[in-house]
Symmetry: C2
Subunit: 115 residues, 2 copies
């Protein structure tokens, strides 16, 4: 093997059912930028109904709301992250980043023999 | 949220293309037990042709063989792991286990607030 292996990690959170992973995390980041679940879905080339279902499933499993609807105002109906949604997204991002650092740190020990 | 979140990790190795992950690792463990790729595939309810393709793709990307064919003998044509196949499987298992320990260790710091 001429090249170093690249490690791809996927972190998913489960209660009884899968409730939070890379997909919903990306969706929430887009809502933060675009202040709308519809715009976030469109930006990810995802049907709005699918985005809505992903968020609702996650909220049901987690037991708290991730998004608050905003109505009226200059941009019409939109969405913002709840305080708990922001906290979970931040925890998830931090956890993935910390795990990534550990994964990189341990690479040589386990896979150095193959490079 | 009444229950602790369960963390599910997935570790995949890439060269340019995906080359090794949970699927091929399980397949190789089954070959170790059953001494046959056909039996391993059957045990995983996977078509033999699919198992064969997974192994061949991984070998091509990695640049070394994972399985050696064994012919004749009491069990007819079978398969065993090459030395490099055993070494990579062992490295992958060890890496996943070590990362799992880190993931568990870091859980409280990031997600303790949600339990």
């Amino acid at each position: 093997m001429d090249q170093k292996l690249k490690i791809v990690l996927s972190v998913r959170l489960f209660t009884d059912e899968k409730c939070f992973g890379p997909g919903v995390a990306t969706l929430l980041h887009k809502v933060e930028q675009l202040h709308s679940l519809r715009s976030a879905a469109m930006d990810m080339s995802m049907a709005y109904s699918k985005a809505w279902t992903i968020v609702k499933n996650a909220e049901r499993e987690l037991g708290f709301k991730l998004l608050d609807s905003t109505t009226g105002g200059r941009h019409g109906g939109g969405a913002v992250l709840t305080a708990e949604g922001r906290a979970l997204l931040s925890a998830y991002d931090g956890y993935c980043a910390a795990l990534r650092r550990e994964a990189d740190r341990m690479y040589e020990e386990f896979f150095g023999q193959f490079s």
